[in-house]
């Protein structure tokens, strides 16, 4: 049995589906040649098409179409070779034309699915209903003037992919896992940067509850949730609210709600007095979008390896554990970094260094894998110094810290600081003799059978040698000396 809310009157199950709006990565907008970059001065990235001036016409951007196809392929979805752009008509301050160009009846991508993995290791498939392309709206600023709203159309016309899931999600954790996985796939594909803070990825969450085994009950939509954590909290909060409504003899009414993260509750959106009737119809400025199957095949061929496939390959080719593989493929940049380090080296060692020292250093310095102070190449060369016994693993950690701070080459650090491992038996023998002489009592105890003191001697010898003694040789000489 899955996730259950125990109500006063019995158990309840959550039914949830997500509608995700993902901003397409492209240089220019879906139907105009204005730029899409984030953070430009207001109304500086606006064409006359975006501002819906008289006589302006939309011309679709090939790259935006390609990105939608790539995403569809990444979601193992059906690519519709015939699709169409429709107009969704409504008046709104930041919707200049009075309609949004969207795909209503005939989306470019049909059914697909995403496999999510939960904390307990179980896997679930969440169905994708459809993906369609549409225009983003502009932005209204309400805090600039006491009685006016200010309109910035920079975002108006930027391409969005609306990705709709089936109502297959049954718990807050699954909702989070779905969104995490979707975001990961989009980032791998390079079709959306997944930046939820900047609004490149937004989720509308549809939630209802039911008795296990029952049909669907009325759902509510929680709009514009802008972090994965909030999505999980919103599912939980809204489901519990609905349980409370049903259990106290009420009816859940279908409505649009907002999540208030500060209070951890959902509340109804201010309802507009105007009736909603979007009057969808085919956009007469655009013809049907017919895709060349060869183009779709070419996009399929050039699709990057996706996280699931990559994780499997990492387990197979590098003998990594399922857990390590999953951690390393979470971000494409991390996976690429790891592979650059692991190639031709001890992969397990490489994985440990990336997930251990490197992640810690990134965390500490507030950097990302893309801006890492230590390049994959440099880390690889550091591991080479361990492999050829120039330094020990312990010294390597010291060298790594130096690399993080100065960005210097590992071999140069080793040379400059004289960290090269001592393999000269004479020097080791001298250090061993000195340590044994200084610890006569312990030598006696050891010889009387206290075997575990051996580690103590190794430590003392290494200390005496400034950590640079070759561990194998130190062991060997000690064994001999202790007879």
């Amino acid at each position: 049995m899955g996730y259950i809310i125990e109500g006063r009157t019995g158990p309840w199950e959550i039914v949830c589906g997500l509608e995700v709006h993902a901003q397409v990565i492209s240089k220019s907008k879906l139907f105009s040649g204005a730029a899409t970059s984030f953070g430009a001065a207001p109304n500086t990235q606006v064409s006359f098409v975006d501002a819906a001036f008289p006589g302006m016409l939309p011309v679709p951007n090939r790259e935006c179409i390609a990105q939608a196809i790539r995403t569809g392929l990444g979601l193992k979805a059906q690519i519709n070779l015939w699709s169409r752009f429709d107009r969704k008509n409504y008046f709104y301050a930041d919707l200049p034309a009075g309609y949004q160009i969207s795909q209503y009846q005939h989306p470019i991508v049909g059914r697909g699915e995403i496999t999510v993995e939960l904390a307990d290791g179980t896997r679930r498939n969440i169905g994708i209903t459809r993906l369609h392309l549409e225009q983003d709206a502009g932005k209204s600023l309400h805090d600039q003037h006491p009685t006016k709203s200010y309109i910035d159309l920079n975002r108006a016309g930027v391409a969005l992919m609306e990705i709709v899931s089936e109502p297959d999600i049954r718990s807050p954790e699954e909702a989070g896992a779905y969104l995490t996985k979707l975001r990961q796939i989009l980032r791998y594909l390079g079709t959306c940067d997944g930046n939820m803070e900047e609004g490149s990825l937004r989720a509308d969450v549809n939630i209802s509850v039911r008795r296990p085994g029952e049909g669907y009950r009325t759902r509510c939509e929680v709009k514009n949730v802008n972090s994965i954590r909030f999505v999980m909290q919103a599912v939980e909060a809204e489901a519990r609210r609905q349980v409370e409504v049903w259990e106290s003899g009420g009816e859940v009414v279908q409505e649009t709600r907002l999540f208030d993260p500060a209070r951890g509750v959902t509340r109804p959106m201010r309802t507009k007095e105007h009736a909603h009737d979007y009057r969808y119809f085919p956009d007469p400025d655009l013809l049907p979008l017919e895709l060349d199957p060869e183009w779709v095949e070419e996009l399929r061929r050039t699709l990057p390896e996706l996280p699931d496939a990559k994780a499997e390959r990492f387990q197979r080719d590098y003998q990594l554990s399922a857990y390590d593989a999953r951690v390393l493929v979470a971000e494409r940049a991390t996976a690429d970094y790891f592979e650059a380090v692991a190639r031709g080296r001890d992969a397990k060692l490489a994985a440990n260094w990336v997930m251990g020292e490197l992640f810690a250093a990134l965390n500490r310095t507030g950097r990302t894998i893309e801006t890492s102070p230590v390049s994959a190449d440099a880390l690889g060369r550091l591991l080479d110094l361990i492999a050829d016994e120039t330094i020990s693993g312990r010294i390597a950690k010291q060298v790594f810290e130096e690399m993080v701070e100065t960005g210097a080459d590992p071999a140069a650090i080793v040379d400059a600081k004289g960290l090269r491992q001592v393999k000269d038996t004479g020097a080791i023998e001298a250090a061993v003799a000195q340590v044994l002489a200084a610890n006569a009592e312990k030598v006696a105890e050891y010889k009387a059978g206290k075997d575990k003191l051996f580690g103590f001697f190794v430590g003392q010898v290494m200390k005496a040698m400034g950590g640079k003694g070759n561990p194998a040789l130190v062991n060997e000489v000690l064994k001999r000396a202790l007879g």
């Binding site: 492209s26 204005a34 606006v46 011309v59 790259e63 169409r84 006016k148 009736a275 013809l287 979008l289």
Partner: protein, 99 residues
């Protein structure tokens, strides 16, 4: 199908065109006249006919992903009935929208 005054008011609201009660009555007559005339289309058998959305039968052409326009906010705002400028930049201004 015949429009009642309530429907006339509803579609005028959808279209964001203010109508007076006198106009509702007049429009009701005119629109019903037009609709009654239009409804002769019901005589045409259209089972199995694919709807035709446009006048040309060709596939949609796509353009390259190139930035060709921008940095023209003065031209964009030149015709605005209410333009607002502040430290952030230039905007279209409208009566405050409550969300």
């Amino acid at each position: 199908m015949s429009l009642d005054p309530e429907t006339v008011r509803r579609i005028a609201d959808l279209a964001r065109i203010a109508v007076t009660e006198d106009e509702v009555a007049r429009l009701q007559g005119e629109l019903n006249g037009i609709l009654a005339w239009i409804e002769q289309l019901n005589e045409v058998a259209t089972e199995g006919v694919e709807p035709q959305t446009g006048a040309v039968r060709m596939p949609l052409r796509l353009r390259d992903d190139v930035v060709t326009e921008g940095d023209q906010h003065d031209a964009i705002l030149a015709n605005a009935p209410d333009r607002a400028d502040n430290a952030l930049g230039s905007f279209f201004a409208v009566p405050k929208v409550v969300e």
